[in-house]
């Protein structure tokens, strides 16, 4: 039987992601974040829901828009913020930054700066789980724009042929950078999956409980050895492609519409309706705020990453 995700836990995860990203937005505007960052504000339900279906042995390959996946996967906020701010205590020592947050001991195989590259990596992780008999599964998140990359097609085909425990999760937010993805990809994901004989499910990506249930069902099928699955979550990108994106290509209406589908508001309302006390929600919100504030304070206080530590970091230290 499909395990039910705890709705309050889902909300907690989403709150943490939202708080973390909105804080990053402010930090970015203040010039405290190096490089560029892609926020998943509005899409939190997908990360929270999918990761709620996973166990510690499972693997996740993420995207350039990967903060939510990392946090939902349990990457410690301290290490996360320190990484995105480029501090020595970052989970990757400040060498990767936003687009490369990884925590291999938690099966978080990394955000990825290359669109589409997560899918073959997750494919390989699924293969490893199968061969090693870990019972684990692998998830690759990808965007609707990424479907145009050959890597997606090769990965789905291989997973199908090999019947690997791979879940491909499309975060369909309608955009690929500055273009509507329906001007870029001719295939619907359902027809595409069907062509390979791979079951596809679509879910409201703004409904964490629905995502969690769909993911749990898919993951159980994977664990039963039934071969790969595709899960498509329709959701909305609230903000620009990256922070600082003036979004000249997007009319105000679209952005407003996006904000009308707040997965957090939805989850909150459902919890209240189910009788959860508002105070419990306030507590969760405060917890998220405090955790993020503490992580930011920690990151700010942390020493800058040092080149002396990094310079020999491309290879394993020579044995001696």
């Amino acid at each position: 039987m499909t395990r039910m995700a705890d709705p309050l836990a889902l909300l907690r995860t989403m709150l943490l992601i939202r708080e973390a990203e909105m804080a990053l937005a402010r930090l970015f505007a203040d010039g405290e974040v190096p490089g560029f960052i892609h926020l998943s504000v509005g899409q939190e339900a997908v990360a929270a829901g999918v990761c709620s279906a996973l166990g510690p042995q499972d693997s996740v390959a993420s995207t350039h828009r990967g903060h939510g996946h990392a946090i939902a996967r349990g990457v410690a906020l301290d290490g996360f913020f320190a990484e995105v701010l480029g501090r020595a205590s970052g989970v990757c020592g400040g060498r990767g930054g936003s687009m490369h947050v990884a925590d291999l001991n938690r099966g978080m195989l990394g955000a990825n700066g290359i669109v589409g590259a997560g899918a073959p990596i997750a494919l390989g992780a699924a293969l490893a789980h199968r061969i090693r008999g870990t019972g684990g599964v692998a998830v690759a998140f990808f965007g609707d724009g990424a479907l145009a990359e050959g890597a997606l097609h090769e990965s789905l085909n291989l997973a199908a042929i090999w019947r690997l425990p791979l879940l491909l999760v499309c975060e369909n937010n309608g955009w690929a950078e500055f273009s509507r993805s329906d001007t870029q990809v001719a295939a619907t994901l359902s027809a595409w999956s069907a062509a390979y004989g791979v079951p596809h499910a679509e879910v409201d990506g703004n409904d964490a409980a629905a995502v969690a249930a769909a993911a749990a069902e898919a993951v159980e099928a994977l664990r039963r050895g039934e071969g790969p699955r595709v899960l498509e979550a329709r959701t909305h990108r609230w903000r620009g492609h990256f922070e600082g994106d003036p979004q000249r290509y997007r009319d105000a209406e679209d952005a407003a519409r996006a904000a009308g589908h707040d997965p957090i508001a939805r989850s909150r309302a459902a919890l209240l309706a189910a009788g959860v006390a508002e105070s419990a929600l306030h507590a969760a919100e405060a917890e998220a705020r405090d955790a993020v504030a503490a992580a930011i304070a920690g990151a700010r206080a942390a020493p800058a990453a040092e080149w002396a530590d990094a310079r020999h970091g491309a290879y394993a230290p020579a044995e001696s």
């Binding site: 190096p34 490089g35 560029f36 480029g86 501090r87 970052g90 400040g94 060498r95 990767g96 930054g97 936003s98 687009m99 490369h100 990825n112 700066g113 290359i114 669109v115 589409g116 724009g145 990424a146 145009a148 990359e149 050959g150 690929a176 950078e177 500055f178 273009s179 001007t183 870029q184 990809v185 000249r248 290509y249 800058a304 990453a305 040092e306 080149w307 990094a310 310079r311 020999h312 970091g313 491309a314």
Partner: protein, 319 residues
């Protein structure tokens, strides 16, 4: 520099109906760095064409289009992503003229930005031009100034063979005059940026500016370094380097790319052969150390070559 590129593209589009542009978000959005701003409005979505995120097909389509009468100018958003387009570039574009017995060339241009300085991280900062210089059939240029960006891009588009125009991201914002009627810059010709008699610094792209800064530092110490901007990396101007070396007898080669197996290796190796008799000191290279490009500002600053390191190299070869 972005304006200079934009102008070169606009003029090429206006002059030759065979010229088309293709790339991700280059049309309606004007390109991720603004290099193609306004061109789709002016020349239409057919000729200034937004593509899906399909680097391999973009490059392959450019090859097919170039073999069928067009002069496509493709953009790959970051040079790091040419990893996805190497078959079309290397196995198809570069080889078609030769392996088809000279029937026809492949007059395509690939524009792609390299380089760091923006904390863009290990997958958005690489300088991979040495790969392409190693591929017979490709040409590679890398401008250091807006005027060169304009002129080299025009030469690239006019060239009958595939040319990769490597643009340094950190220079996109650089201001600089492009004359109203600019002189063409032939591919393969270097330029002396600053004359000097004590040592030659050969550089390209962003490193040209570090090299001139280094020359200023050195001048204060009484060392007159000559700075050469290669402009073209394949073919590169061996005669100009040799000529300079035969006056200065000392050579330093600088670039932003990883030093090991980089473009500088070829320059140094050639001069250790053809220029051997002119050398009064070791040939030194200044390039990035052997790690991926790190993200954090402090790391990236330590990682990237700069004027101080170039000046130190010049001092060492004069030792």
């Amino acid at each position: 520099m972005v304006q200079a590129i934009n102008r070169a593209l606009a003029e090429a589009l206006a002059e030759d109906p065979a010229v088309i542009l293709l790339g991700e978000d280059i049309g309606a959005a004007g390109g991720p760095f603004g290099a193609t701003r306004g061109l789709q409005q002016r020349f239409g979505p057919d000729r200034v064409r937004d593509t899906p995120i399909s680097e391999a097909a973009i490059m392959g389509a450019a090859v097919g289009a170039a073999l069928t009468g067009l002069r496509p100018v493709a953009e790959i958003m970051f040079m790091d992503f040419v990893t996805l387009a190497m078959d079309a570039l290397v196995n198809q574009a570069a080889k078609a003229r030769f392996m088809f017995g000279g029937q026809r060339g492949v007059p395509l241009v690939l524009r792609t930005p390299h380089g760091g300085g923006l904390s863009a991280g290990p997958q958005h900062s690489q300088c991979l031009e040495a790969w392409l210089c190693h591929v017979p059939g490709l040409k590679v240029v890398c401008p250091a100034t807006p005027a060169d960006a304009y002129a080299l891009l025009r030469s690239a588009i006019a060239d009958p063979d595939p040319v990769v125009v490597v643009e340094n991201k950190a220079l996109y914002a650089m201001k600089g005059e492009v004359p109203d009627a600019p002189e063409p810059i032939p591919i393969g010709r270097a330029r002396i940026v600053r004359p000097g008699r004590d040592a030659t610094i050969v550089a390209y792209g962003a490193a040209v500016h570090w090299a001139t800064d280094a020359a200023s530092l050195l001048a204060a110490e009484g060392i007159e370094a000559e700075v050469l901007d290669l402009r073209s990396l394949q073919p590169w101007d061996e005669a100009a380097v040799l000529e300079s070396l035969s006056r200065t007898h000392r050579l330093v080669v600088a670039h932003e790319a990883v030093e090991a197996f980089g473009v500088g290796a070829e320059i140094a190796a050639r001069m250790a052969d053809a220029g051997f008799d002119e050398l009064d000191g070791p040939i030194l290279r200044v390039g990035a150390p052997f790690t991926p490009v790190p993200f954090a500002r402090e790391l990236e600053a330590a990682y990237r070559p700069d004027a101080a390191r170039i000046a130190a190299a010049v001092r060492r070869t004069l030792d």
